[in-house]
Point group: C2
Chain length 332, copies 2
């Protein structure tokens, strides 16, 4: 039962790639910082680079690479996940032959002013995941991909396998009982990949059902890392006050609400959102007011750091507003 020594011999030569999902919210839109190409041809990619000896910590290595490639310095940084499966190394490793490990990170920054960084561009993240934006009701893409999803469910020969697929689809896309869960971003992307709905699936032996794919593709497996980041952020927002990492020093409650809506991808009920925020003690008055809001001037508030110490889970346990617009569209 002890095959240990046999395995020990073939220890792999490994390159470690540090990859950053850098998120900001600008004008109520969730944005992510991308660079051109990267190791992976011409597609849009996330900032990333190999771990080097002089990086004392992984996070330090990440910050160095991001600054070098984009000029952006990072505030809040959080490790997401380490990817290393051989059959999902979509991009050929720069140092040929060996295995590539990708450690994904989520970074939150305040909205960028100057774009001094070379080759770095901010993009709305729903560009890559159009089916994730429910702010103005059910997104139209879902109707487009529905046939492919149902076909995938019906495809297997055995009833058991069909049932298992139906269940998986139900959990991920909220068909069947549960309804749409805004986290589960990764489950949905992985399922879309398996079904062959995203372009990345073509690049490698997978399902590969041609067509341009839904949403904009990314280099390597970066879209999967982005999906992981969105999922994590959508989950975390509910029990930790991370949104404030994305807000300017002073902001109005509507701006805060729009930031949360941007991240969560769903509309919120205004009066209740405001009460939730204030009753949780998450913000305090600055005394100032804004004028250019289009309506009545709004109070400017700031994040109240003491909330971190007082509350056990000081997040914004948001749930979608019920009045979702139907999102029906003219079929064509």
């Amino acid at each position: 039962m002890k095959t240990g020594t046999a395995q020990h011999r073939a220890s792999a030569s490994v390159t470690v790639d540090l990859t950053a999902v850098i998120v900001a919210v600008t004008d109520g839109q969730p944005r992510v910082l991308t660079v051109a190409g990267g190791t992976s041809g011409s597609a849009e990619a996330l900032p990333s680079g190999p771990l080097a000896r002089q990086h004392r910590t992984l996070e330090q290595g990440l910050r160095a690479w991001v600054e070098a490639q984009t000029g952006q310095s990072l505030g809040y940084v959080e490790q997401l996940y380490t990817f290393g499966d051989l059959d999902r190394q979509l991009a050929p490793p720069s140092a040929g032959g060996g295995r590539v490990l990708s450690i994904g990170y989520l970074a939150l920054v305040r909205e960028p002013r100057d774009r001094s960084g070379d080759a770095a561009t901010w993009h709305d993240w729903y560009r890559y995941f159009p089916w994730e934006d429910w702010r103005r009701g059910r997104p139209d893409v879902l109707a487009d991909i529905e046939p492919a999803l149902s076909a995938w469910v019906r495809a297997p020969a055995t009833a058991g396998e069909r049932e298992s697929r139906r269940e998986r689809l139900g959990v991920a896309f909220g068909t069947g009982g549960g309804g749409w869960s805004e986290d589960r971003v990764l489950e949905r992307y992985e399922l879309a990949y398996e079904v062959g709905l995203v372009q990345e699936a073509d690049r490698e032996g997978a399902a590969g059902t041609a067509g341009p794919g839904v949403g904009v593709a990314m280099g390597g497996d970066h879209r999967r890392i982005l999906a992981t980041a969105i999922a994590r952020l959508r989950g975390k927002i509910k029990y930790r006050p991370v949104v404030f990492e994305l807000m300017p020093p002073a902001f109005t409650l509507l701006q805060l609400q729009q930031a949360v809506e941007a991240l969560a991808g769903m509309p919120l009920h205004k009066p209740n959102f405001r009460r939730l925020v204030e009753q949780q003690g998450l913000v305090e008055e600055t005394g100032a007011v804004t004028l250019g809001t289009g309506g009545r001037p709004a109070r400017l508030v700031r994040f109240r750091r003491e909330a971190l110490v007082e509350r056990p889970a000081p997040g914004l346990r948001v749930r979608a507003r019920s009045g979702r617009r139907s999102g029906s569209r003219s079929s064509s």
Copy 2:
């Protein structure tokens, strides 16, 4: 601003270690599987081994190593975190010189029957974290370490630094406002490490305040990985039905409650717990009853898999029962 090429040269030679925290609940006690020594001398260690070329996926590599070292095959497996800081490599890497990356995993198994595995032992996890067990009230160790914690808060020269430490202690240990949060296991361990309360801190340049340390030490940085696992599990239990991975096919509600209490490290209110579980539709009747429970025979229930599809977050949102026994002790 583009130092990229300069960094690229010094790409590190890396060994990747896969490390498993394998959890079971036996007789209402949370247990973790350990092996003797490992790479790290004679201390208790978690099963682990280097990633090899033939491992198609990271998880597969982990499963192979665990089976080889302990004979235990794994069911539910989840990646936790990747550790790679140079100044926390407590154990000298077996392949000299290079950097060691540790990918930690959490695995849940049903209670072990036979111990055919060589050198593998199950231990109560509170052996390593005695301050985490609040099932019978506030644990006594906390009184022992309190002086050291306060001293650490008072130590810095500047008031600002003192305040920052006070705040950090308040969040981690629930002094100040928030109260004890059963997740935050990692924050507490890291703080204890910094204060020099755990033996691991001595092994390297850190605070190192002598003494045997609180709780049993582990090889390498394994106790940190274990802390990460407990924290994750305590958090996850609230919104995903992961406890059931630890239960036998049929069980009583009290057994389930005790499993949750074991993991969360706090007592629960029985009548409310039962209602919560049943109302959530997490279990269904088997029809059978147990007899040897000491009191009235209990219904045996089983996990209801359909709950996964129906509910958005089918967990056990548990909160501590209020009637905590005081946990005072004779000082000595």
